[in-house]
């Protein structure tokens, strides 16, 4: 088994964030009544003419620039012909030989020998614009299917990678990084449930060290990045098993079945994929002036890679922490907003990654829906830094902040959870504890340093966990020395 390796390429379709469709003025709004966001153009009625949405082209170019790809001198559209009722025209307007972007790349982090992260360049072959198809409904419909053309004509950018990915994990990582770029650029909502981000995968296997490519299988129907990873892992094992039996693989398209956890053959006829592309005569060609490309380039925001490079030195974060934080724009924004309130970046990073995300997860909330704002979280962290409360108490405060929407200060005050830093009070408690526990006290005096832990625990117990541990330690040590 181990002498085989997978060769993986991904095709990602991302819905570009425009108000109107790619070639007509119909709204792209999700959830409209069936077939209401339609017009003669996107319904393919005779006599209608498509006209390109300028914003869609600009967004495609932005993605290309972020992936450091070339922008084609000449851009044209082609008809991809096939018969399926989700296409009212019996062809899809796509791009064949003159796509918007060509030859880019994306850098991902892969784990080599254990925990060490190393960078790997994944080449992008091309990114082209095309219109989405309509939606078919089959379930529960007698003798036929229903068609809703609201999606037909919605702008998609298809980003095609080279087969540079060598494992299902690398494929997952690539998707996370690519999605982050789309989010940073604000070119898409990247909502997989609403279909604004989709991925098909190509995978073949070969013996390690072999430079030739094996028989390629296309997998479709994955509805999450994890599903892509699982489908690829399943398909790799399936293909290896076929080869080990000395049988031949068939070039085909297979569908991922999430419930069964396996890929199933579509058994399509061989020439079904003869799309007979030809230039779309209804659209003129395009050429983007260099000055406009430069303008778009200047408008690009800070991208995940640059933010990562900045986060590490600026906030003294580990490679891992910096990666987790920049992987989602909203998360990185939250972190920076928190740190800007003057709290320790390291503490903020820990609290966001473990406690905050944990609470959100439990409450099935997105970060954007968090009742606890960066400002409010910074308030909680500041209480820890000022030793007003211990980290342990802080973990009890956070859920209350979610429930009540109150500030950490208000909750701590109301609950009387302020850490006891009053030395007079603590000295009294310490003396009482020493008197009540002569044996451990003697042990400490005799030089058994670890015995002090028991006494600290007793003081904590008497103060209901609100005493400052560092202070108790100091007081106990001082008192035990004085009594010697």
């Amino acid at each position: 088994m181990s002498q085989y390796e997978p060769v993986i390429g991904l095709e990602v379709h991302v819905q570009l964030k425009t108000k109107s469709k790619l070639f007509c003025g119909c709204s792209t709004e999700f959830g409209a009544e069936p077939n209401q966001n339609t017009c003669p153009v996107c319904l393919g009625l005779p006599g209608s003419l498509p006209v390109l949405n300028k914003t869609a082209l600009d967004l495609a170019i932005k993605v290309g620039l972020a992936l450091e790809s070339g922008i084609s001198k000449r851009i044209k559209f082609d008809r991809k012909n096939y018969f399926y009722p989700d296409l009212p025209k019996a062809y899809q307007i796509s791009q064949y030989d003159m796509p918007v972007c060509h030859n880019g790349h994306l850098i991902i982090e892969v784990r080599k020998n254990g925990d060490e992260l190393t960078q790997k360049k994944i080449r992008m072959n091309r990114a082209h614009l095309e219109e989405d198809a309509g939606k078919l409904l089959h379930e529960g419909i007698q003798d036929g299917s229903w068609v809703d053309y609201n999606r037909a004509g919605i702008p998609l950018l298809e980003v095609v990678s080279e087969p540079d990915l060598c494992s299902p994990e690398e494929a997952f990582e690539y998707l996370v990084r690519l999605k982050a770029i789309f989010q940073y650029l604000n070119v898409s909502d990247c909502n997989m449930e609403e279909g604004s981000l989709r991925c098909d995968a190509n995978i073949s296997v070969r013996e390690k060290g072999d430079t030739r490519l094996g028989t390629k299988v296309e997998i479709k129907n994955m509805n999450s990045f994890r599903a892509v990873q699982k489908a690829l892992a399943f398909e790799f094992e399936r293909q290896v098993a076929v080869l080990e039996k000395r049988e031949r693989l068939v070039q085909e398209t297979r569908l991922w079945n999430e419930a069964r956890g396996e890929t199933l053959s579509m058994r399509s006829k061989e020439f079904a994929h003869d799309y007979r592309y030809f230039p779309e005569p209804d659209l003129v060609p395009f050429s983007v002036p260099a000055a406009h490309i430069a303008e778009l380039k200047a408008s690009l925001p800070e991208l995940p890679r640059a933010r990562y490079e900045r986060f590490r030195p600026q906030y003294g974060l580990s490679a891992y922490d910096a990666h987790v934080l920049v992987s989602e724009k909203a998360l990185a924004d939250y972190f920076e907003a928190c740190v800007n309130k003057g709290v320790s970046p390291k503490l903020a990073s820990n609290w966001i990654q473990s406690e905050l995300l944990g609470e959100l997860n439990q409450r099935k909330l997105k970060l954007s829906e968090s009742r606890v704002t960066p400002h409010a979280l910074a308030g909680l962290i500041r209480l820890i830094e000022q030793e007003t409360i211990s980290g342990k108490i802080a973990k009890e405060v956070l859920p209350l902040m979610f429930e009540t929407g109150q500030s950490a200060e208000a909750i701590v005050e109301a609950k009387g959870w302020v850490q006891v830093t009053d030395t007079t009070l603590l000295e009294e408690v310490a003396e009482r504890v020493i008197r009540a526990n002569p044996k451990p006290a003697d042990d400490v005096r005799a030089g058994k340093k670890q015995a002090v832990g028991f006494l600290v625990g007793q003081v904590m117990k008497e103060t209901k966990g609100k005493a400052n541990p560092k202070l108790i330690n100091e007081i106990l040590e001082r008192k035990l020395k004085a009594l010697r």
């Binding site: 300028k54 914003t55 659209l283 050429s287």
Partner: protein, 97 residues
């Protein structure tokens, strides 16, 4: 019968049911078209920019604004088959084996 044109495959891809006489006539037409293209191929076009459109136009855009059309219901009324607000088509499930 032509050896250049596989008329049956072309017809299948275009979802056309051809009568025998149509099949012959179309084969002949396509052969003639291909012969004409062969003739064009002989020309030296090294110095000629490829054309994808007959008009000397480029960069025709529309701005990204919504224009409500309201044609949906009327188109539905003319559909051969419809149910509720949907077009209805024969059941075709891609990938069902």
């Amino acid at each position: 019968m032509s050896d250049k044109v596989n008329i049956d495959q072309i017809a299948e891809l275009a979802r056309l049911n051809l009568k025998p006489e149509e099949r012959l006539a179309l084969s002949k037409d396509l052969d003639e078209i291909l012969a004409y293209v062969d003739q064009l191929q002989e020309l030296n076009t090294d110095q000629v920019e490829p054309t994808s459109h007959p008009l000397a136009l480029e960069n025709v855009f529309r701005q990204d604004s919504v224009a409500k059309c309201d044609v949906g219901d009327r188109v539905l009324e003319h559909a051969p088959k419809r149910e509720e607000k949907y077009f209805k088509v024969p059941k075709v499930i891609e990938g069902q084996s």
